[in-house]
């Protein structure tokens, strides 16, 4: 059992970091092994924002291997070298935690595949997100713990999706935590609640097409699957609709891009989702209490039906 939540403001920005924190914290009983945020902040759109990790959180409950902090420093140094070699200039650098970094990069490219492959060729390094607006932040613990650790409650933006995880299919670590970046697409992220039963078949097929998987978490497949569909020319909505037949199992998932937010529910409607929709805000979560954390007044909500796909624009 995991919890997912998402919101999109249409025509305005808001404090989405704080809002999503409230929604995910309301769902913490659905799992607090890890919590992740995909936040779409207000930026000037000039530089890429790269969130990456050079190691793992090996705190209580983690299934990761303890490494000396000097290893993180060494990996960071190699990342910097690779960026310089590719002509990517680091405009701003933040090291929130010894293993977690945020770079603003001046880099002129539309194809992030080669870029990502080079950075991730460094053992222990994973790009959590890459985009002009997207920032994926994920770590062990509940929503408040992660929010406090990364100082997310001040982030202003248009939309966000997040995930409160109870680990069932893979380890308790950051690499298995949601959201997943839609590698190698700029600004695409995914969160998922459910289980996929044709994970390995799909994974092998996608790996043969050059896509990469960083974890053994079945949910990562959705991000890669949608990214591959978009790579082949499908729109976000088309890719999501194809996933209803392409993915076996039970699922409710959200996908977000720079300017849109979508949801899909499997054909058996086995996983919950409650949705609130108005002219200026769409908010959704695994349970109504997530929406209530930002809209305490009486509102009209509903459950999307089986096999339903919806996409909203900012």
């Amino acid at each position: 059992m995991c919890g997912i939540a998402g919101l999109i403001h249409r025509g305005k920005s808001s404090n989405v970091g704080s809002e999503l924190q409230g929604m995910l914290q309301a769902l913490k009983h659905r799992g607090e092994d890890s919590t992740g945020y995909a936040l779409y902040g207000d930026t000037d759109g000039k530089n890429f924002i790269m969130r990456f990790k050079v190691g793992e959180n090996v705190g209580e409950g983690s299934s990761s291997v303890m490494e000396d902090i000097s290893v993180y420093d060494e990996r960071k140094k190699i990342v910097d070298q690779h960026l310089a070699e590719m002509g990517a200039k680091i405009v701003k650098e933040e090291r929130t935690l010894p293993y977690s970094l945020r770079y603003e990069i001046d880099y002129d490219t539309k194809d992030l595949l080669e870029f990502s492959q080079k950075i991730e060729s460094i053992p222990g390094v994973e790009i959590l997100s890459m985009g002009k607006s997207l920032e994926v932040i994920k770590d062990l613990g509940n929503a408040k713990m992660v929010c406090d650790k990364y100082d997310l409650d001040k982030l202003v933006g248009t939309h966000a999706i997040g995930h409160a995880r109870m680990a069932t299919e893979s380890g308790v670590d950051i690499k298995s935590a949601h959201p997943f970046w839609g590698y190698p697409f700029s600004d695409v992220s995914v969160v998922h609640n459910g289980q996929l039963t044709n994970y390995w078949n799909n994974r092998r097929a996608l790996e043969n097409k050059g896509m990469r998987f960083m974890s053994e978490c079945d949910s990562e497949l959705i991000a890669v699957y949608i990214a591959q569909k978009m790579r082949e020319g499908a729109t976000l909505e088309e890719g999501m609709k194809e996933s209803l037949a392409g993915l076996d199992g039970v699922f409710t998932y959200f996908v977000a891009t720079k300017d849109s937010l979508g949801m899909a529910k499997d054909t058996m409607a086995a996983k919950p989702l409650v949705l609130y929709e108005s002219d200026d805000l769409v908010a959704m979560g695994s349970e109504e209490i997530a929406i209530r954390s930002i809209l305490p007044q009486e509102i009209d909500t509903y459950d999307p039906f089986d096999g339903e796909v919806k996409v909203w624009q900012i």
């Binding site: 409650v274 109504e288 209490i289 209530r292 305490p296 009486e298 909500t301 459950d303 089986d306």
Partner: protein, 284 residues
């Protein structure tokens, strides 16, 4: 083991199509006798006065605290309780075995009004998954939408949703009536064993999948039929009952019930229960 006689109609409920199976086993003859009602005592019930009314704000309460307070108010004789600010909390109003007028001014989360027997409940909002699960008797009215597993395993009573409901509505229901004013999701009536479901709008795929008995009435389009769910003739008796039920439920009063579709069990699964355990193993 109970004997199954499919051809014999023994009671009004059977002739009305509430169930068609006639059980003649020894345990089935020990039905509750209404004449002995005075000797029947339900632990944890109270004499309440419907005219004695109070309000309870549960905004800062947990679900156990709120439920305990409802019980406390009933013990003081309050027969009408208005719950303020439920705000989507889970498991509110569960286990009420009393006659009671209960009004929620807002929405409930999961498992609202579960395992109740007797209260008349109005929810002026929405409900989450598994609303009124295991309802034995009483009436629960939801003014807006409901989540999945609406009325799971109810044994009796009326469960009414004026909006739309999610998937698996009436799953495993064993009696009572579920009425939905809007649409319903996939697997409506999944494995239902008795009772009736009325959906005025459309339903999703696999309607009545593996239903054992009971009746489903659909006013709109059907996504697809589930295993062992078949069409049946809509009789004048059915239409009269539907009109009455919709009127009492304050829902779809002017709905043209003559155009509704009636779905029942194909009864291919019936013989399964007659088999000995070793034979059942072979049948699976």
């Amino acid at each position: 083991m109970a004997n199954l006689k499919t051809s014999e109609k023994k009671s009004k409920s059977q002739s009305m199509g509430m169930h068609t199976e006639v059980l003649t086993g020894r345990t089935q003859q020990k039905f509750f006798n209404p004449d002995e009602a005075e000797n029947f005592y339900y632990f944890g019930t109270y004499d309440v006065d419907f005219n004695k009314r109070t309000e309870l704000d549960v905004k800062n309460m947990t679900a156990p605290e709120a439920n305990k307070e409802i019980d406390n108010l009933m013990s003081q004789g309050y027969g009408t309780i208005v719950i303020k600010n439920p705000q989507g909390k889970h498991s509110l109003g569960v286990g009420i075995l009393n006659k009671l007028n209960l009004i929620f001014e807002g929405s409930l989360g999961y498992f609202g009004m579960g395992s109740c027997d007797g209260p008349i409940v109005r929810i002026n909002g929405r409900v989450g998954w598994s609303c009124a699960e295991n309802l034995m008797a009483g009436k629960v009215v939801i003014e807006k939408n409901a989540g999945s597993c609406f009325g799971a395993a109810i044994r009796g009573g009326d469960l009414i949703c004026k909006g739309s409901v999610g998937a698996r509505t009436g799953i495993d229901m064993k009696g009572g009536t579920i009425i939905v004013g809007g649409d319903a999701g996939a697997f409506t009536g999944f494995m239902m064993q008795r009772g009736r479901i009325i959906i005025l709008g459309d339903v999703g795929i696999n309607l009545g999948d593996s239903m054992y008995d009971g009746t489903i009435f659909i006013g709109g389009e059907i996504g697809s039929y589930g295993s062992d769910a078949v069409d049946a003739e809509l009789t004048p008796g059915d239409q009269d009952w539907l009109k009455r039920k919709l009127k009492v439920a304050e829902i779809g009063e002017n709905f043209d019930v003559s155009k509704m579709k009636k779905i029942v069990a194909g009864k291919k699964l019936w013989n399964y229960d007659n088999l000995e355990p070793t034979e059942k193993k072979g049948a699976i």
